[in-house]
C-alpha cells in the first residue's frame, strides 16, 4: 500500500533534517512508543504498542537509514515484528526550503503480512493512514520544539557525530501520542 503527501513545517530545513536524523527524536514519533534502543547512527529499534482503538498492537520495529543526501533527502526502512503481524515499510523524505520553513514531500510503501491482514484491507488502509497522520503530527511538534530550543542549528556539532548523543535523555520516554 502506497501512502504519500506533503507537509509544511515551520522550522528551517536544517532543523528538520536534524530531527529526521536523530534516532532518539525519530523514535518518539512512533505512536505508543514504550522504549527504544539506538544501535548505531544508522540503526535503532523501538518497542511500540500501536493504539488501534479497540486495543493495542505490540510491535518491535527495527529502523535502518538506507540513504541520505543531507539536508534534502533521506530514506528509511522499518521492519516491524509483532504478534500476528509483520510490517515492512520504506519511507522517503524530500526536504525543500519554503521561506523560513520547510516543505517536506514524503512517500511510504507499507506492507502488512500475517493474520492481521485478515481484518480486511478496507479497515487496514484507513488505520495505516491514521497512524501515518499521527507520526506527521508528532514530527511537526518535535520539529517546532527543536526549532524553539536551538534557535537554529547548533554550530560545530554534526548531528551524525557520536558526541551529539552523550547528552541524550536517559531511558524510554513516555508515549507522545496525545490524548484524543
Amino acid at each position: 500500500m502506497k501512502v504519500e503527501g506533503t507537509k509544511e513545517l515551520s522550522a528551517s530545513r536544517d532543523v528538520v533534517w536534524q530531527v529526521l536524523n536523530d534516532p532518539a527524536q525519530m523514535a518518539k514519533l512512533m505512536p505508543g512508543v514504550e522504549g527504544f534502543e539506538v544501535k548505531d547512527d544508522r540503526n535503532w529499534q523501538a518497542k511500540v504498542k500501536i493504539p488501534l482503538g479497540l486495543g493495542g498492537l505490540r510491535m518491535t520495529i527495527d529502523f535502518t537509514k538506507v540513504e541520505e543526501r543531507p539536508p534534502e533527502f533521506a530514506q528509511l526502512n522499518a521492519k516491524g515484528n509483532g504478534v500476528g503481524a509483520i510490517m515492512n515499510m520504506q519511507t522517503q523524505f524530500h526536504l525543500t526550503e519554503a521561506g523560513t520553513g520547510t516543505s517536506m514531500r514524503w512517500e511510504a510503501e507499507v506492507k502488512i503480512a500475517g493474520p492481521v491482514g485478515a481484518m480486511g484491507q478496507r479497515v487496514l488502509q484507513p488505520i495505516i493512514n491514521q497512524q501515518v497522520g499521527n507520526v506527521l503530527t508528532a514530527l511537526e511538534k518535535q520539529v517546532s520544539e527543536a526549532a524553539a530550543s536551538t534557535g537554529g542549528a547548533q554550530q560545530g556539532i554534526h548531528p551524525g557525530s557520536p558526541e551529539a548523543y552523550e547528552a541524550d535523555p536517559e531511558g524510554p520516554t513516555h508515549s507522545t501520542e496525545d490524548k484524543s
Partner: protein, 271 residues
C-alpha cells in the same frame, strides 16, 4: 478463535463502569461484542481489561422527550427495530438497523458498540451524522455532548476518551422526516461496499458517505437534484480504500450512486 488472556469486570452501575475504565490502562467497554470479540479473535488488537456493560439496563432505554428521540448506548438493533418510539419519531433508524448483518448479530449488537467501533463499513455512523444526532458521553469529570460529525475520529476511534463511556444517542424527532439510506453490499444485506445517508430539511440536504474514509464524510450539496449531489461528491475528492470488493475508483463511483439514491429515497419519503 482463541483470545489472549484478558481481565473482565461486570459493573452494576454506570459510575462503577466509568471508574473501572478510568482505573485500568488498556481497558475497553464490552457492549454487544459483535465487532470487539472478532477483533480479539484475530489477536490483531487486544484490550487488557474488558468492562462488560450488559448489566446496565438503564442504558438500554429508548425514549422520546419533546423533539428528541433518545436511544441508550446499549439498545440492541433488534430493540430499535421493534421500538414504537423509533417507529413514530425517526423510522429510518429501524429500517437501517434491519439491514445490519443477521438476526443473531442484531439480538446482541448495540447502537453504542456500532458507533464506538466505527468500522468504516458500518451503517450507523453515516446515518447518525446525516440525521444531526448528538452523543452524550460521561467521564469522571461529568457529562458532555458531542455532535455526530465531531464524534468519529478514526477507525475504532471516537470522541469517547480513556475512562469515558457513551451513555446515549439523541436524534431529532421528526415523524415523516425526509431521510434516506442507500448501500451496495456484498451479497444481499451483506457488508457494505459503499453506503450513504441523506436527510433533507428546508430545501437543504445533509448527505453523508460511509466506507470511503476512516470517518463518515459530510457533504452539503447546493441542491437536492442529482447534478448537485454528484458535484458535491466530486468536490469531496475522495481517496477511498481499495480492496478485493472494490477499487478506489469503483468505490468512489458507488459513493456517488449511493448519495443520489439516498437523496431520492429521502425526497420520496419527505413528500
Amino acid at each position: 478463535m482463541l483470545l489472549r488472556e484478558v481481565e473482565y469486570a461486570r459493573p452494576s452501575s454506570v459510575d462503577e463502569a466509568i471508574r473501572l475504565l478510568a482505573a485500568n490502562e488498556g481497558a475497553r467497554a464490552l457492549a454487544g461484542g459483535q465487532t470487539l470479540v472478532n477483533v480479539m479473535k484475530a489477536r490483531a488488537a487486544s484490550p487488557d481489561v474488558l468492562v462488560d456493560l450488559n448489566s446496565l439496563d438503564e442504558l438500554r432505554e429508548i425514549s422520546v422527550s419533546g423533539e428528541t428521540l433518545q436511544l441508550g448506548a446499549m439498545a440492541t438493533y433488534t430493540r430499535i427495530m421493534a421500538s414504537s418510539e423509533v417507529d413514530v419519531s425517526r423510522p429510518i433508524l429501524a429500517e437501517v438497523a434491519a439491514q445490519i448483518a443477521d438476526v443473531q448479530v442484531r439480538n446482541r449488537g448495540t447502537i453504542g458498540g456500532n458507533i464506538c467501533s466505527n468500522d468504516p463499513t458500518n451503517h450507523l455512523p453515516p446515518l447518525l451524522v446525516a440525521l444531526g444526532a448528538s452523543m452524550t458521553i460521561r467521564g469522571a469529570d461529568g457529562e458532555r455532548t458531542v455532535a455526530a460529525n465531531e464524534f468519529f475520529l478514526g477507525v475504532y476511534m471516537t470522541a469517547v476518551g480513556e475512562g469515558e463511556l457513551l451513555l446515549s444517542v439523541s436524534v431529532p424527532a421528526a415523524a415523516n422526516a425526509a431521510d434516506g439510506f442507500a448501500s451496495v453490499t456484498i451479497g444481499r444485506d451483506g457488508t457494505c461496499i459503499a453506503n450513504a445517508a441523506a436527510s433533507l430539511a428546508g430545501g437543504a440536504a445533509r448527505v453523508v458517505l460511509g466506507c470511503v474514509d476512516a470517518v463518515p464524510i459530510l457533504l452539503e450539496p447546493a441542491g437536492t437534484d442529482e447534478e448537485s449531489i454528484r458535484q458535491a461528491v466530486a468536490a469531496a475528492s475522495l481517496e477511498p480504500p481499495s480492496d478485493v470488493h472494490a477499487s478506489a475508483e469503483y468505490r468512489r463511483h458507488l459513493a456517488g450512486v449511493c448519495a443520489v439514491r439516498a437523496v431520492q429515497q429521502a425526497t420520496e419519503r419527505g413528500r
